[in-house]
């Protein structure tokens, strides 16, 4: 058992994957000598060489497009997109090529690649550095989309994503990179990559989150407990496919569901969750599914991001609204 920051845990997971499988490559802007702008790939080029940890030209479509070719040749590239807002030049390759290659080849071709994206706000960054673009990718069949929230999951989920034969978009909560927790590097992961995690059990309301909002929701659950409200918190982890089995069970128990994300509200993950929960748990619901999200604006300047981002109070406000019925 080692105490590890989330970013360090991904680094350790990458290292383990590269040790276990010589076809695993890391590629992206500044991932080599610098170790990435968040140091997630720190030390990897030194130990695995420039052929396996590739400092690429500054072009996201090129990173994704050449990774497709490498995957077709039998490699398992792990691409780093430096910031969420920079993924869009590569989106054509992700949506039109990566996501569809297996399907359009009738299953003959596989593109086992991972696209790592630090996402979300809260670090006082300039524009294009704090976005949450996960819904675009979760909307695209052929991609698997996951978001990690803690060091233990980060360590295992990056390895699980790399070993998968489907392409995975892997979201990392950049403001949680330095959060520490105990990580056991032995044994095997306790959950499949695509499974949600029950984090805290409760009886009055179910709160769903992923990525950076899990910590926020746990804090909200603690605060609510002091007021005598018992909140169940589930970390969705996988956004495509969504694993809602435990969510349905939870909502049937609590009758109330609040879904939380930083991303804009309209057509976000929360909208899909609300629809599915309504379909499956209609007779158990005591209140409409409540969404606590970013607003339908571009990500704002840093000096007002605290108002844009859901925080403990807004999560509790969402719970209050659900309990008001």
């Amino acid at each position: 058992m080692t105490t590890m920051a989330l970013g360090k845990a991904i680094n350790a997971g990458l290292r383990k994957a590269m040790e276990d499988d010589p076809t695993v490559l890391v590629m992206g802007e500044d991932v080599g000598k610098l170790g990435g702008v968040f140091r997630v790939t720190d030390g990897l080029q030194k130990d695995f060489g420039e052929d396996r940890v590739i400092d690429t030209p500054l072009a996201e479509s090129g990173i994704i497009g050449t990774a497709v070719g490498l995957a077709l040749r039998g490699y398992r590239p792990v691409c780093e997109i430096q910031f969420d807002g920079f993924v869009f030049p590569g989106t054509n390759q992700i949506v039109s090529q990566v996501a569809k290659m297996h399907f359009r080849s009738g299953g003959r071709l596989r593109v086992p690649m991972v696209i790592r994206i630090p996402f979300g706000g809260g670090i006082g960054a300039v524009e294009h550095h704090s976005e949450s673009p996960e819904a675009y990718f979760a909307h695209t069949p052929g991609l698997k989309v996951v978001a990690v929230s803690n060091p233990l999951d980060a360590y295992w989920m990056i390895q699980q994503a790399i070993s998968l034969d489907d392409p995975v978009v892997f979201f990392e909560p950049k403001r949680r990179y330095w959060d520490k927790a105990d990580v056991s590097e032995d044994g095997t992961p306790d959950l499949p990559l695509e499974a949600a995690r029950m984090v805290v059990t409760g009886s009055h309301a179910t709160v769903l989150a992923y990525g950076p909002m899990v910590k926020t929701c746990l804090a909200a659950a603690s605060a609510a407990a002091q007021e005598g409200r018992s909140i169940e918190v589930i970390d969705l982890r996988s956004l495509s496919p969504l694993d809602l089995t435990s969510v349905f069970e939870s909502v049937r128990k609590t009758g109330r569901c609040v879904v939380v994300h930083e991303a804009q509200r309209t057509l976000g993950i929360g909208a899909e969750v609300a629809a599915r929960v309504t379909e499956e748990c209609f007779y158990s619901l005591e209140a409409p599914v409540v969404r606590v999200t970013g607003f339908d604006t571009p990500y704002p300047p840093a000096r007002v991001e605290e108002e844009y981002l859901p925080d403990l109070d807004r999560v509790l406000d969402g719970v209050d609204r659900a309990l008001a019925y």
Binding site: V68, L72, Q93, R104, R108, G142, P241
Partner: protein, 399 residues
Amino acid sequence: MTVETAGPAATAPQAQDEPEFVQLLTPEGERVSNPGYDHLVADVTDDDVRGLYRDLVLARRVDTEAVALQRHGELGLWASLLGQEAAQVGSGRALRPQDHVFPTYREHGVAWCRGVDPGLLLGLFRGVDQGSWDPHENNFHLYTIVIGAQTLHATGYAMGVQRDGAVGTGDADRDTAVIAYFGDGATSQGDVNEAFIWASVLNAPVVFFCQNNQWAISEPLERQTRIPLYRRAAGFGFPGVRVDGNDVLACLAVTRAALQRARDGEGPTMIEAFTYRMGAHTTTDDPTRYRLAADLEHWKLKDPIERVKAYLTRGGGADHEFFESVEAEAEALAEHLREYCRSLPDPSPTSIFDHVYVEPTPPLVAQRDELASYLSSFDLGGEESLGRDSFADSGEGHR
């Protein structure tokens, strides 16, 4: 051997209306010398030229038959290669089995050279699949519709070849080149320019084969570039060469040189095959709206097949019987295509759920079951089914 200079070496005198390019066979079928490239085709016998002629004729026959199938409603669409046969056959026959091809959606002649059954090309255009050949079997990737996207895949694949140690070993059966096909329009795409940068910086064993057919649907070359396309390569730091794209022998020579350069670990080359799209962009296009009929007549005089026939006839390399036999073979191939095309079954509705992921996900399985259950509800012969049929029969469903 290497191609150190960007641009064509000194060539024999050419017709005034043609740009400077590598040419070994004039439109009249006269073999002209080019000291920079002659040695690359020194081993080509009359028998080989007859083989190239056969490839050209059969590739064109595949194409004309596919256009006819589209006209008869058997295909939804077809992208014709008419006029580009020499560029495709010349480059296609320069490949070794281990080399890997990343085509656009128009490389039917290259597919032919790689041994892909032409029938397999039809599924995409008939709408029954999205590429039904096994890319690993012939080292011929699926057609890519999005313009230029495959140039990055080719470059990445070439990076993989490097990492496999399959470059510059001197083993002719091991050293591997990758070739990316694209058109003049694609040279404006970001992906193509990114591929040039990647390949150059990483010295990837990839050949960029641009068929400049002068037209990107309705837009002439002047809408894509202010300099000859092959000269772009110099700016990226690797050689570019322009070849007469209607000269199968020159295309063979130039591509052989570029592929060998790649296999030897000397990095990328860009080839601009200067040719002309004699047909429409696709069967839905009407080129009379944007270009002059006289241009087409002009290019007919440079036909890629006629010059090989003239060469063989003039030199006694083939007789009437040979040409007859190729025609007969072409007719048989066309018959095969017609039968194959009409026998292609429509996919089952629930097959759309196959291969979205390597293993189907639970939500997708649920959706497939939902569709299957919905569809099977019509098999019961109940009121619902009758109601729908009678609605369609009334004609209201076809407004």
